[in-house]
Symmetry: C2
Subunit: 255 residues, 2 copies
């Protein structure tokens, strides 16, 4: 094993109270932090620790740079939003290793998990992920629409709760509108839909609506969307409190 | 809003370093802890704090008891393994509220998310959840086999990575064997399969195999199973190190 170390660290969705002890320690002991600028900006500055900020689009280049740094003997933390393992930096680091220098395979590399956006959104609203679910990224540059449509159709037939990541990219903002149009042909218009924007941050905004009324303009790049199964439903609360939305643990005859 | 408070708190999969700051604070400030005995046993004893341990099967009764305690003015933490929102206590609490006393809807209730087993397993092994995935519980008392089979078939057609929770219950230990037999008719025998048992605990055991060789006896009640998509693959490492398993971010022509 070489001297350098690389940790792919999940910061969670934004609020500092959602960071784990393991992630805090990995950040504190790193000599170098590598990541998207706004994620680095969330972290306390430490004397002697180097920061390498990059653009959000450059995931593979960022991963390669971090692996080179670690190979030179540094203790590197690649900083990721949410959970690095779920539509974030861990897969980019693995891709870089698979296609990169053989020395990178000898490094001490580990992933530090974090709370991902769908968990934060679910916690805010009740328990919409309480039964079988799927998570689909709508990222426009990594997958064709035909694949997304096929998965949405099969996920609807399976009656999974559906969590949608990256619903509105700059390159293809209309895609989420297409998704709602498509899903209305497969699911009831009364299906609960949750728009969870920037959960855990100062500009957090939660909107609960129905599939028949879902407005694509509520989704931006910081939004996570949860679309219920046929069993997902609200629990009304008195005094103007937001209803809980939840999916029961049992299904059909066992519900 | 009534005086009592209820928090449904995720401890993560076992290791104390995977607990979030929010969860630690909710546990420290609770007057009463309610939960499955072994989860309570993980926590530091605090003077004056009451513990109410119960059997693992009694989720709904436990939720009702916690809601009654909170209604009497206590600050209650319902302790859950993993993430309460994913196949754990949050949905049970919601079910109890939906069918219970109207006063319960007026309580200050919130869910505190945690790292769930599939995230811990994925972090240990690379990035198997790096692309679209689904999570299915095989719990035998909440869902018929016909529903499970339908979801496994559609998840295979969608080429999701599949995370299986509760693969081997006491009541129906043979179910996971049926799952492997079924999936072999829908997916390649070379598909990577990860058995992640008790991740983060002293008796942690990770086994990486292929669908064609997957042994149902490797799954017990503490095991989480991840079954790859057609793109999930190993990255070999020198010196006897465990290969990484990962799923690329892109798919098909975009991979």
């Amino acid at each position: 094993m070489r001297a350098g170390r690389l940790r792919v660290v999940g910061l969670g969705p934004g609020a500092p109270e959602w960071i784990t002890t393991e992630a805090s320690e990995a950040l504190a002991t790193a000599t170098d932090l590598v990541g998207y600028g706004p994620y680095l900006a969330r972290l306390t500055e430490r004397p002697g620790q180097h920061r390498h900020a990059s653009d959000n689009r450059q995931e593979l280049e960022r991963a390669r740079f971090a692996l080179e740094l670690a190979t030179s003997g540094r203790n590197v933390a690649v900083v990721s939003g949410g959970d690095p393992g779920i539509f974030a930096m861990a897969a980019a680091v693995m891709e870089a290793i698979e296609t990169g220098e053989s020395a990178w395979r000898e490094l001490d590399i580990a992933v530090v998990p974090g709370i991902t956006a769908m968990q934060a959104a679910a916690a805010r609203i009740g328990a919409p992920l309480g039964h079988d679910f799927c998570a689909i990224s709508l990222s426009d540059n990594l997958k064709d629409w035909s694949i997304i449509e096929k998965r949405l159709r099969l996920a609807s037939e399976a009656d999974f709760v559906i969590a949608l990541y990256n619903p509105a990219s700059k390159a293809r903002p209309e895609r989420i509108g297409d998704v709602f149009v498509f899903l209305r042909t497969h699911k009831s218009a009364a299906t609960p839909v949750i728009f969870a924007r920037a959960v855990g941050r100062a500009d957090e905004r939660l909107t609960v609506t129905k599939l028949g009324d879902a407005d694509p303009l509520l989704a931006d790049m910081a939004t996570l969307i949860i679309i219920g199964s046929s069993e997902t439903r609200p629990i009304e609360r008195p005094g103007g409190a937001q209803p809980f939305i939840y999916t029961p643990r049992g299904y059909g005859a066992r519900a």
